[in-house]
Symmetry: C2
């Protein structure tokens, strides 16, 4: 029953019918974020959801976004006119979160209300946290995971592409593991559609997008992505700027402080993004090991089963490649060094990292087989051939150009940090093992990924023998300070095990 002075706000909520009140004042009336209000002035009334503000209106005022006062009902509304407000109902999303916290399964309508209110900003960190916490009680059933995926897809942008739309996704955790920029041009050169989105590094020395950015633009809008894919069959873009499954980022944010990424959340996050991108054939690269996200075979099996269930619901053909991994693929770690490795493979230079090429071809072949258009032998031959004949190299240049970049690139022209330090062997020996975690930390000290030219180059890889005085690895930095820091750290930490 409270009354407020109307204030027209000169911007749009971009969402639904929405009004704002000052937080403290709303609280006094027992009005909470996302509550549905009935708003009356003169003989007219309409419904709107409420959000809090601490700046847009003064005490005693209610703010109306443009959607409202440009609507039929709102047209005659005056600023400073008095409106009457009454609370119609608490949001369905809050009711649903409470229900789940108390242990009951949710139906699709309930899950959709939660995901929609999260993505529209009506549920803040605290409410979203209650939702994530609710997954601890009895967890989510397969059906609920499917509902979550569907709701995340539907509350964001959905892209549609022509042709057979394929993709691969790596469940990260390994440095120097840049398969994507090699796989995408091979696949596209074979006539498939592969609209690839990648992420930036969070805790690793370089995400795929950080690396790609060394030699091409990756921040494209949805409409440009459509053009690039229509023209070249593929793209290599940063997914973070798109409105694909937008609720996911907010859920990730509140999961962070608990030092865990629940597997269920990861599954939904991956699958929702693939569904939204219209993917129909999907290979998942899932490294298993102590330093990766997936700790053991049992977890890998569980994840595969659930992904397969969700993929089936959306008509996606899925292949999961789970494998134990101990060493990085590629010799460079850090954006520019990884970019050089990638270009060396695509340009088929003699000094290219063969392990990275091998790994890229393996996953590429698996994806080709999954489409049903290739036998295993044909797939291997075709992907190797398209790399060797430089068709993949031509294709990535085409993509770079379509994305607004410069085709005139070469692996050996990639600029690397000019402050360098070579670590030499103190005696003859053989590389037995790398400490991936130490490699990541040294790259951080050197400044990667913000400093693209920083990183470590592995002159010797696992199994290599070396003589006293030979270079084992090289540090790259863009300032003497950074290099000194890393050299100081070298005295205490080891990045490789020698026998």
């Amino acid at each position: 029953m409270p009354y407020f002075k109307a204030k027209k706000l000169d911007f749009s909520s971009g969402r639904r019918m929405e009004v704002v009140l000052r937080e403290e004042e709303a609280r006094r009336y027992g009005i909470r974020k996302a509550d549905v209000l009935k708003i009356k002035w003169k003989k007219k009334s309409f419904f709107a959801a409420v959000n809090y503000t601490n700046s847009k209106v003064e005490e005693g005022e209610i703010g109306f976004f443009r959607e409202i006062w440009q609507s039929d009902k709102g047209k005659e509304m005056n600023s400073a006119g008095i409106v009457e407000v009454s609370l119609i109902k608490r949001p369905d999303s809050i009711k649903a979160i409470k229900k789940k916290l108390l242990g009951s399964p949710l139906n699709y309508k309930e899950i959709k209300s939660i995901i929609k209110d999260i993505s529209d900003g009506f549920l803040g960190d605290i409410e979203t946290t209650y939702f994530v916490a609710s997954s601890f009680r009895g967890n989510f059933s397969d059906t609920e995971l499917y509902y979550l995926t569907k709701a995340m897809v539907e509350t964001g942008d959905q892209l549609k592409f022509k042709g057979m739309v394929v993709d691969k996704h790596s469940i990260g955790g390994l440095p120097g593991n840049r398969v994507t920029p090699i796989l995408v041009p091979i696949i596209a050169s074979l006539g498939f559609t592969i609209p690839k989105t990648s992420s930036r590094a969070v805790t690793s020395p370089a995400g795929t997008s950080d690396t790609l950015e060394v030699f091409m633009p990756v921040c494209l809008e949805t409409k440009d992505i459509k053009k690039v894919v229509a023209q070249t069959g593929g793209c290599l873009v940063w997914g973070g700027a798109l409105r694909i499954a937008p609720a996911d980022d907010k859920i990730i944010k509140v999961s962070y402080p608990l030092v865990m990424e629940p597997y269920n959340k990861m599954i939904v996050s991956i699958m929702a993004k693939k569904v939204a991108m219209g993917i129909k054939y999907l290979v998942i690269d899932m490294p298993i090991g102590r330093n990766t996200k997936i700790k053991n075979k049992k977890a890998a099996d569980m994840i595969e089963r659930k992904m397969r269930y969700i993929a089936g619901k959306f008509g996606i053909k899925l292949k999961v490649m789970a494998s134990r991994v101990i060493d990085p693929a590629g010799r460079g770690i850090g954006p520019s060094l990884e970019a050089r490795d990638i270009l060396r493979v695509l340009q088929q230079k003699k000094n290219r990292p063969m392990d990275l090429e091998k790994k890229a071809l393996k996953i590429t072949s698996a994806l080709l087989v999954l489409t049903g258009k290739f036998t295993e032998i044909e797939a291997k031959k075709a992907s190797r051939e398209n790399l060797r004949s430089l068709k993949a190299w031509e294709k990535i240049k085409e993509i770079i150009s379509a994305q607004g970049g410069n085709q005139n690139i070469d692996s050996e022209k990639i600029k690397l940090g000019s402050y360098r330090h070579e670590v030499k062997a103190a005696k003859n020996g053989r590389i037995a093992m790398y400490d991936n975690r130490a490699i990541i930390e040294f790259c951080r000290i050197l400044g990667a990924p913000s400093i693209k030219q920083a990183g470590i180059y592995l002159d010797k890889v696992i199994g290599n023998k070396f003589k006293k005085g030979e270079t084992l690895f090289t540090l790259f930095a863009d300032s003497p300070d950074r290099l000194d820091l890393a050299k100081a750290a070298l005295k205490k930490g080891h990045i490789l095990k020698i026998v």
Copy 2:
């Protein structure tokens, strides 16, 4: 293993050994709030908990609070010196929250770690929400509630007073229910110690502190409270400024968006504050009803049982007075109008609200009986007598003076809103019932509690007969606008039922 440039901060954390990093940078290193770091420079090292900042240090810097660089180990530390940081362990509190989320009971050490980190600001809204959410899974046992109470007490200030320390607490929900300012001076005038803290209104038209503030200062610091109580035997202060059970406020904050106050949380919150204030005899006034916090007898019984258990653990003698209530006690609603009612009772004016006096005497007597120093008959007599002989009136003036206020007050000098509207009876009849919820909303429209002079005075109370043309109730406002708003609302809402 990361390295940072040291920066001495010119303020103290006021807590433990603490350092700050920029949030984004800390996240890149996988360092989370409240993590314990080992910090090394030259040959020295120490442990500190980390917090995030977005302003105190630059990228690449680590900020040290005064506690650290004024400590023995930190004395020789230079600003701009390089320190090495390593992650020693995740905070115990985060581990404990996860454990509870997964359904296991917590021991005292675990609960203490959570409450301490909440009250020290190491656990933010998101982490605190996970903890509150964890109570949904199997809830807290009586033992855990005791641990929670104990931990809340120990992480805040604890006050000790001489004599028999007594208190009463109302579990709110009713307008115009100001028993406290009458009870406190009676009890103090009888030689007991009653260090009373009260709250401000959140959703009601006036909290006890809002009302008291009309005629006395209520914002006192701990040291002044001690003086006032030593001098007069009692005090009437706002509890919000004290560091009593500080974790409680933060837990309340994250409970708000879920539109519920779990009973367990309420029990811990009340008991922790009483224990911290050194209370030994406690009467709980617990109105039961649709518009109050306690909806039914079953809930009341459960709350009483748990409170009794916790009280027993701390050696507190407890009496719970649960009763169904339907009407407000007192005729004024809103800070100034309620203040006038209170002073009328204390000054024993003829026009005093007898229902409020009766209620205050009833609870006062119950508290006296609880101390074991009075039989029921003696208690009734003593409290009535001390009110009638104006001993209570002299006592509250003594307290007002000790708290820095002016003794020269009178019920009829309380300033009320000068814009008034009397609602007259359209025909003869009798008051059957008030709508407490409507009364609260009308007071809000009139501007209470921020506008102290605003409110409603009930000229007729339940059971009163009236003739056509007599005044039923009066609206008070400090501006014609506010009064007009309320008059407009009157056309739609009713605050009383007439037969």
